[in-house]
Amino acid sequence: MKERIISEKAVFLKTIFAFVIFIAAFSIGVYAWKKLRHEVKVAGVQSTLRKGLNTNEKIFSNLFSEKRLVKTYPISEAVSHVRVNGKEGLRTPVDTANWRLQLVKKDGDTLSLTLDDIKKLPKTDIVFDFKCIEGWSQKTWWSGVKFADFVKFYHLDDEAKLAYAGLATPDKEYYVGIDMASMIQPQTLLCYEMNGKPLPLDQGFPLRLIIPVKYGIKHLKRIGTIFFSNQKPPDFWAERGYDYYAGH
């Protein structure tokens, strides 16, 4: 360790200098913190924090690979009592006879599909660890049509080149925006069965999204419309302070 011999006055001055810097840095820190706490909120959260979330989104969506699959489990490991969390978009009674999936194409044409139309496509099962943004997770079993298969079947290749898909419930009370890479990831399903039976009403009958690379908030129940866009579609929880990406 280095040693020096200096006068007592020099020791005193060096000490004072160090403490002045220390207190000044501390004050700057407190000031910056207070400023951050009282910043104008953008979509429910301080603008700097929102910028942070958006930067993270850029970093981690660049890192995303559809080749990295979500871990799957045998059906025997799936729970029988699946947790229900959130009723947004489900409060309006569903008109089962007249329900149609409204698929808005790039040119503005809308395809109106029945559940039977969707069921004609190959069926895929998945048992995976469904993760809620609150921190809990559950191994659950879902069945439906791969969104990637659906895109191919309905010739949505041009739409799939856009950056985002937007989904909403029939009553438009709940809505999500999802980056296209996650949408066409091979484990993303337009799901109509849970535990081998038609979806219960509170799990999104007749059709819901299952997107294992995202938190539960993105697994929209009771899909009414799907559209495609290069702009970020509105997202219910992202408007309330949450991360827009919410992906794994």
């Binding site: 020096r4 020791v11 220390f22 959260v45 924090l49 979330l53 943004i133 949450y242 991360d243």
Partner: protein, 244 residues
């Protein structure tokens, strides 16, 4: 005149004092996130001995219903925590400061003696340099814990893209528990650290701000010994050849 001995390099003081508030924000925002699914408890025979955390604890810190806010803070300050920690590790490795920090062969035995000394069970301390054996173990452990927080944190944050890390941690849920336990570890470290700083006193604290210890000047070493008066002075005898 005084002698000053450089104890803590400037870089290490900055890393230390930046880490303190950043880690505090990480723990505070982490608690907001944990609140949304607060399932951990220490149980003995099915009975919860310690519940993490009681309702009063959350309310005292205004934690309930701040999940979104907690995540937003956590995922911004994680970068500061990560970069500051990384710079500290690099600095320590390349400056040679690791010599004072890493435990050596003697540290684990001596660390025990330091503990006994600090608990007033035994008197006397083994010789030390900048840090004693217990400090070497503690300050190295806290860096390993920081590394652990990053690994477990990434496993929770991106469990698919960093699936291999999640597997390393024993799965998503295990990673969440480990992340939590590490945080409790920081809090315990903090309590002991603060107690030790208070006990070590003002001069020790001051050196973490100024960087140096002040020592009294050592006694000046005597120069060439001067002849003293009561010693007989021997005149040089010049012997000259005598001519006959």
């Amino acid at each position: 005149m005084k002698k000053i001995v450089i104890k803590h390099p400037l870089a290490i003081r900055w890393f230390h004092w930046i880490n303190f508030p950043v880690l505090a924000v990480m723990i505070w925002s982490g608690l907001m996130i944990y609140w949304a699914n607060d399932v951990y408890a220490i149980k003995i025979g099915g009975k919860a001995l310690i519940k993490f955390f009681p309702k009063s604890f959350y309310e005292a810190l205004n934690l309930p219903f701040h999940l979104a806010e907690g995540m937003a803070y956590h995922f911004l300050f994680m970068w500061l925590f990560f970069v500051n920690g990384l710079l500290y590790v690099f600095y320590t490795a390349f400056s040679g400061q690791w010599r004072y920090l890493l435990p050596n062969r003697k540290s684990f035995r001596e660390g025990w003696l330091v503990l006994l000394h600090d608990l007033h069970i035994k008197k006397g301390l083994p010789p030390q340099t900048k840090y004693n054996a217990a400090q070497r173990i503690a300050y190295t452990a806290i860096i390993i814990m920081g590394f652990g927080s990053i690994i477990t944190g990434l496993s929770i944050y991106k469990p698919v893209q960093f699936g291999w890390l999640a597997t390393l941690c024993g799965g998503y849920e295990a990673a969440r528990l480990e992340h939590f336990v590490l945080t409790i570890g920081y809090c315990l470290f903090f309590v002991v650290h603060i107690m030790q700083v208070i006990l070590a006193g003002w001069k020790n604290f001051r050196s973490m701000v100024t960087g140096f210890d002040v020592l009294p000047l050592p006694k000046a070493e005597p120069k060439e010994p001067e002849p003293s008066e009561d010693e007989p002075i021997i005149e040089p005898v010049i012997i000259t050849p005598v001519n006959s």
